[in-house]
Amino acid sequence: MGMGAAACLVLSCLCVSCGDPVETSFNPAYFDLPETAFFPTETNIPADNRLCAEGVELGRYLFYDNRIAATSDHPEGVSCSECHRQAAAFDCGADNLRFVRGGLPLPLQNLAYNTRALGWSGTAVYPATTLEDFIRLTLADSAEFALPTDSIIAHIAAIPLYPKLYEAAFGTQDITLDRTAKALAQFVRTLTSTHSKFDRYMRGEERLSDEEMQGYVLFTTEEGADCFHCHGGAGNVLFSTYMLAVNGLDESDVPYRIPSLRNIAHTAPYMHDGRFATLEEVIDRYSEHVYATPHISPLMHHADEGGVQLTPREKQCLKAFLLTLSDEDFITNPRFSNPFTK
């Protein structure tokens, strides 16, 4: 035994004999989301749940683990990934429709930059002000997970994988709803989509075709398709304001959260209730079939004309532009994929 080791042993014995707890090392690898050109610099990451590699890894396992909500009636279980599939930009996907109270899930992308509110109806359904709260309420919602939260926590605790992952992320093997929500929130906040063709165009790395550029001009002009006030553009690359708005879909005056148009090619069917199967149907509706309801968003300047009245060529260009918002890297990124199938 070397002198150093002997000294450590003596020190260790002294500590134990003094009744001090033996210190375990808890040094999570904290990190910030990388700053991305044209993206917001502010995020909704709370001070008590900074991103760390261990927390994100734990969140990723939890996100994909359907054992956490398996029952004898549903032995296949439920996980977040059942309704939020990577191939569908973490929406449910057209071949996997999942309705909760008549609404489809919203895609989980760039949520770290959403400093406004979450969900189709915002606080009307889930009175959550943070992503952590939103996840807690989702886990507790019997319409989403069939088990009460204490059962979900018990299931997690019974899976041998997790105590060590919680310890690495939070410094303790004690598994709680709060830590579970925090870990899931950390993983979800890393789901950033920043490599679409439009992003590369903005960074000067790629050109848009003439058709795509014409579509972009239509997208960002009031006398064109008039999309940008709600759905962004060069100055708002999240492609949503995340505001609530009445959109003139039908005679209803119920407002819904304005969804991001990022990865819209992967998030069919469209609208909160999935009523449109294709982008063409969505464009046709906003072009010619808008209902000018009493509380329609005043940003829909052409509602009293039935819509923005695009020509077939303009519709084609607008669709071409919308397809530049697809981010193939996002839907295939191994960092976001199911860790149980690696």
Partner: protein, 264 residues
């Protein structure tokens, strides 16, 4: 030697005097200063504007219901009786976003203390002047959501008034409108030509900033003025969207001069 000794004595005395002077300067209390804030309000014909609640008749006889108002105020300067100009904020912070939907935006407190004194007028820019109106200057919402499309000159909206309008005599306002102002665009022989519509507002108001005070001035937008002075506005002529209408942009620029009032 005596001569050099005398010079040395003189230098020592001079040094001591300088030290005393420096000490006196160093010990001099800071110039008297006051805190200050601006509060932003909206009226229609002098009455508090009730957004989303009632309709109003404008000069043309048409009616409007206002849902929300958002605008930028920038380069606020206080000018005292001697013509001395005091910036409300340092240059890089001398811009503020006002939104009727955001309570916290309706008050703008200067981050620094301002010299006490007698002030005669307040200057500010409604919107953003050309040097400040640069695309991507704001990366975060809510300011970033005011971006003005590049094809129309880029930068940011100066203002959005959103609501609904109706013809004279109509009881309900059902047609959406957005009075959105920013850089104007005209088609010239060589292509698009852009022009600034930002307006410098100067409002005479004698007020005092007293030591350790906390002065509040109110910047009020009289909404009715957008529609009547010097140009009468007709929704039936301009419609509900005006970003690409250079004439409408000029009308609103001219009318802006009478819209704002600073008061205690």
């Amino acid at each position: 030697m005596t001569k050099w000794r005398n010079i040395g004595v003189c230098l020592r005395a001079l040094s001591a005097g300088l030290l005393v002077l420096l000490g006196a300067v160093a010990c001099k209390p800071d110039a008297m200063q006051s805190e200050m804030r601006l509060r932003f309000t909206f009226t229609f014909e002098g009455e508090s504007l009730r957004m989303g609640e009632r309709t109003y008749g404008i000069a043309s006889g048409e009616r409007i219901a206002v849902s929300d108002i958002r605008y930028f105020v920038s380069d606020v300067v206080l000018v005292d009786y001697a013509g001395r100009r005091v910036k409300f904020e340092e240059d890089d912070r001398n811009v503020h976003y006002v939104s009727s939907d955001l309570e916290e935006s309706l008050t703008w407190r200067s981050s620094r203390k301002l010299p006490t004194g007698v002030y005669d007028y307040v200057e500010f820019v409604y919107g953003l002047d050309s040097a400040r109106n640069v695309s991507h200057a704001f990366r975060n919402p809510p300011e970033s959501l005011m971006f003005w499309p590049e094809v129309l000159g880029g930068g940011y909206h100066y203002m959005q008034i959103n609501g609904y309008w109706g013809d004279a005599g109509e009881t309900a306002c059902t047609r959406p409108f957005g009075l959105h102002t920013g850089i104007g665009t005209e088609q010239g022989e060589a292509g698009s030509v852009h022009f600034s519509n930002a307006v410098k507002i100067i409002d005479t108001l004698r007020f005092f900033l007293v030591e350790d005070g906390d002065k509040t001035l109110t910047v009020n937008m009289e909404v009715a003025e957008w529609f009547r002075n010097p140009h009468e506005w007709h929704f039936s002529q301009y419609g509900g969207s005006v970003m690409q209408n250079p004439e409408a942009q000029r009308v609103l620029r001219d009318n802006a001069a009478g819209v704002f009032e600073v008061r205690e």
